[in-house]
Symmetry: C2
């Protein structure tokens, strides 16, 4: 049941050195792009990074250096402003796309984590990856074969997040 | 396999008049809140609307009046600025939360659609639902038992969304 898989998904920050094939990466991105978007505008773009020199340079741009360095693959996610129609809805759609990718990672028994802290250096990431001006960095997904189980993160109860029920 | 369910999910805009119990609604929101968020800040809040008078008033605030009117339940999704830590990452997290909810809808053989066009009247929605100033309207999910199969929306190919593969 999908709801159980959604609740069992964990962020994985430690990876085995085993390589991750293109087929796996493509399946994960394919799941991502099936997210809905406003007017079906599909505002996402991706850069896939396996090069260790490049990963080393990216690792300098975030507090989470070790994860970036150790992950066999990074999927860098951008919002493409040439596809944009409404910024807030586009950012939501990118979030939905990333969530689909994380669920696919889990479904494929791979490990992955959504890294956002690197956004503080988005201009440096752009320069390094030679992405066009109209791309905006949204997140980096670190991906590999899991070397840990991951921790459960607590959630607020439904009574804390449902403000009201009317009718 | 979750990836297949992700790819098979359809937006459902037509519903039977059958009521939707609280247990179903709670399961859907529960799936939503298991989305990851930056620093696990869980910036989402929800209002559940079943009242027909209120639905009638909401239906006046969007082009998609018929969907709002016909859906037995609306789940109105907000970003809670008192829980916020970074606006863009919070909006992404809300997108991830909504996607989890839509997948849960599909998993439960219910029908639902993500409505964003009503954001043009977000102030009027706030006034109607008596939500606090620090809530920002993010989306309305119309929910019910499906009375249609839904249409497949085309997606760009992987070669169109993967900008580059490095290494």
């Amino acid at each position: 049941m999908m709801i159980n898989l959604i609740k069992m998904r964990r962020s994985i920050r430690k990876f085995t050195p085993e390589k991750v094939g293109d087929e796996i990466v493509n399946q994960i991105i394919e799941a991502g792009i099936f997210a809905p978007s406003g007017k079906n505008n599909q505002p996402w773009k991706f850069v896939v990074v396996r090069d260790s020199g490049l990963k080393e340079q990216l690792s300098d741009m975030t507090h989470y250096s070790q994860i970036i360095r150790d992950a066999p693959v990074l999927i860098v996610v951008f919002l493409d402003h040439h596809q944009s129609y409404d910024y807030i809805k586009d950012v939501q759609a990118v979030g939905a796309c990333i969530q689909n990718m994380l669920l696919a990672v889990s479904d494929l028994r791979m490990g992955g984590v959504w890294l956002g802290e690197i956004l503080k250096n988005k201009e440096r990431v752009h320069a390094l990856l030679s992405t066009p001006e109209h791309f905006e960095l949204m997140a980096v997904i670190a991906l590999g074969h899991p070397a840990e189980k991951g921790k459960k993160r607590e959630r607020f109860g439904l009574d804390q997040v449902i403000f009201s029920k009317i009718g």
